[in-house]
């Protein structure tokens, strides 16, 4: 029975999560020159928490399995790598180092371990939800940092990521459509990264609780009860 259900669940998560993520985060995760300090670390945790919240609740409440975070994000990661490799690299010819997916698996692990250790959705939301939002940027810095090394092109300073965005032509994505670095927070200079991270963390506490609640409503829904 498990041999049948678990692969199906994995496929389900891959499908739903990558669709959902493409709609909500999309370009911020497709292109390395969209991963800024302001919008990407704010939009991503809010969108990324949905499935870990809903399915985290179901898996814990119904099976006492602390897997909702890690499993859904593992599935997303797998689907993202397949899609970037096939669509963006092989089909659309972008170099893989321009379109790689960010890594979020560590965030799922934090949620699951917190849930297992506290056995409480309240404390998991407070600590796990917060660190989930807080740590997106530091977690990805190990792979993003080399793309933000400065260089010069015709008298303009830009990062490696900006240069790749300029050189590898995207006809449908002109430079101005990038939603990056825009906000009054820019005046905080170097402090913008930690400020955004803390802000994202606080928002994400509520966000996680909200999606847990949606998961809870799901278990109450009659049609789901009929299926299980």
């Amino acid at each position: 029975m498990d041999l049948l259900i678990i692969p199906l669940i994995v496929l389900l998560f891959m499908g739903i999560f990558s669709f959902h993520f493409a709609l909500l985060v999309g370009d911020w995760d497709y292109w390395v020159d969209w991963r800024d300090r302001r919008w990407w670390p704010l939009v991503t945790p809010l969108a990324l928490t949905v499935l870990p919240g809903v399915f985290g609740f179901l898996l814990w409440d119904k099976l006492r399995l602390p897997l909702g975070g890690t499993l859904t994000i593992l599935c997303l990661t797998l689907a993202a790598w397949i899609s970037r490799y096939l669509n963006f690299h092989l089909f659309a010819d972008f170099p893989m180092n321009f379109v790689w997916p960010s890594t979020y698996i560590g965030l799922g692990l934090i949620l699951d371990c917190m849930l297992l250790l506290t056995r409480s959705f309240f404390w998991t939301g407070l600590f796990g939800g917060f660190t989930f939002g807080l740590l997106i940027y530091p977690l990805n810095w190990s792979i993003l940092a080399p793309f933000q090394v400065p260089l010069e092109l015709n008298g303009t300073m830009l990062t490696v990521a900006d240069l790749m965005g300029y050189e590898y032509i995207r006809t449908a994505i002109p430079e101005y459509v990038r939603i990056i670095e825009e906000s009054t927070l820019r005046t905080f200079g170097a402090a913008v990264t930690p400020l955004t991270a803390v802000f994202a963390g606080f928002l994400n506490i509520m966000n996680y609780w909200f999606w847990l609640w949606i998961g809870y409503l799901g278990t109450k829904a009659v049609w789901i009860r009929k299926i299980v």
Binding site: M1, L8, L11, L12, M14, G15, S18, F19, A22, D36, L63, L65, P66, L67, T70, L71, I73, L74, A79, W81, I82, N87, D93, F94, P95, M96, N97, P101, T103, I105, I110, C113, M114, L116, L117, L139, W141, S142, I143, L144, P146, F147, Q148, V149, P150, G155, M157, T159, V160, E167, Y168, I169, T171, A172, P174, E175, Y176, I180, E181, E182
Partner: protein
């Protein structure tokens, strides 16, 4: 349970197929799809040339010419004077763009252009993928979309595997842009994947986990936490510590290895217009009629020639179509899709003598009006046309003058 599975499968497979295929970042160049008013009244492209139309991978092609944002820019379309970006229309990164300039200013970021001003542009590209490409100039206008210029067929031959694209960072490191940083990305991603998978596998070792745990959890009700063993808790502690250490470790590693970084760079660039004398030719459109049965555009102007030489009209250009007066100019189409009608412009009442004001009538007759779907402008709620006339004096000097005004269709029902 069986039907549930079938239902799940039926719902899942298309969804996954959709996700793996969606979204492809390629774009079709709908040059003819755009409304004729938009093509005629947004950006006029002038003398767009490619330095070569056949080249090998790693070789350079330059696309250059002029463009003029129309003074008759439609009011309901977001203006090019707000935010615009000089781009190139190719299917994916078949070329890499090494440089692009307007009036000599690098166009790495977005900018804005003034209506009625003539700009020089040049885009330098290096061939990356083998194929035959219809390369279009494009200006993306924020809120309005791409303003597509003329297309030129460029053929790339050679060996894609030999393509090189390097850059030097401000720290003095030479990097290969085709692969830079990818090894590091894959190593960290694989490591995280392994840790996540290990966590999943730990719970899988308790298989069967679905049905028995579901029953047990229901039995225990509020006491279901009893299902968590000491070993489970120990594992939770280990994985939490491991995860947090890896995050901190990765961050410290990156700070050590790439201590100098800058945020993504954005913000608008200013392009000063060229310092050029005002054109000595003034024109006033008296009447523009499009005769549908003859595919003939007839326009009547009052031309004021303030220069000290006689001038005549060599070319009429509108919406990327070029109508050439063969008596003045010799322009042949560059390829089978070049929208040039080499002998399709008839001029009556020219040349206009120096200092004179004269009524001039021009006829632009060609099937291109039909084939390029320009005639659909008849069904527009705002039938205003615009175009550029190229005046030439007897010394060969050119003056570009834009005109615009209402267009009246002639259905061939009223004899004239």
């Amino acid at each position: 349970m069986k039907t549930t599975m079938k239902l799940l499968c039926a719902f899942l497979l298309p969804l996954i197929a959709f996700c793996v295929i969606y979204p492809s970042p390629s774009v079709a160049h709908g040059e003819r799809a755009q409304m004729p008013q938009l093509r005629m009244r947004t950006v006029h492209w002038i003398d767009v040339e490619a330095s070569t139309t056949k080249l090998a991978v790693n070789e350079i092609v330059k696309i250059s010419g002029k463009f003029m944002p129309s003074k008759y820019w439609p009011h309901h379309v977001d203006s090019i004077e707000d935010t615009a970006y000089l781009n190139i229309g190719v299917p994916g990164p078949s070329f890499v763009r090494l440089d692009s300039r307007v009036n000599g200013v690098p166009m790495i970021r977005s900018t804005s252009f003034r209506k009625g001003e003539v700009y020089d542009f040049e885009i330098t590209m290096k061939a990356r993928k083998v194929g035959r490409y219809h390369v279009h100039t494009v200006i993306n206008v924020k809120g309005a979309g791409p303003m597509i210029g003329p297309g030129i067929w460029v053929e790339v031959t050679g060996d894609e595997a030999a393509f090189v694209n390097t850059a030097e960072t401000l720290l003095g490191e030479t990097i290969d842009l085709e692969s830079y940083g990818l090894g590091n990305v894959m190593a960290w991603s694989a490591l995280w994947f392994a840790v996540g998978l290990a966590w999943f596998v730990y719970w899988l070792t308790k298989c069967p986990i679905v049905v028995p745990r579901f029953k047990r959890a229901r039995e225990l009700g509020p006491e279901a936490d009893q299902m968590i063993t000491t070993m489970d808790r120990r594992m939770g502690g280990i994985f939490l510590t491991l995860t947090l250490s890896l995050i901190v470790g990765g961050y410290v590693y990156a700070q050590e290895r790439w201590p100098i970084t800058t945020p993504l760079q954005t913000g608008k660039i200013d392009v000063p217009p060229l310092d050029q004398p005002p054109t000595p030719i003034a024109i006033k459109l008296i009447e523009a009629r499009y005769r549908i049965p003859g595919r003939s555009f007839r326009m009547e102007f009052d031309v004021v020639n303030d220069s000290d030489r006689p001038v005549t009209i060599g070319e009429f250009a509108a919406g990327n179509l070029r109508f050439i007066n063969a008596d003045v100019l010799d322009v042949k189409p560059k390829d089978e899709h070049d929208l040039v009608a080499s002998d399709a412009l008839r001029v009556e009442g020219a040349p206009v003598a120096a200092g004179a004001t004269q009524r001039v009538v021009i006829y632009a007759d060609d099937a291109m009006w039909e084939t390029e779907r320009m005639t659909t402008m008849i069904s527009s709620p705002d039938a205003v046309v615009a175009g550029v006339l190229s005046f030439f004096d007897d010394a060969g000097e050119r003056h570009l003058v834009e005109f615009g005004g209402p267009m009246i269709p002639d259905f061939g029902m009223v004899p004239r």
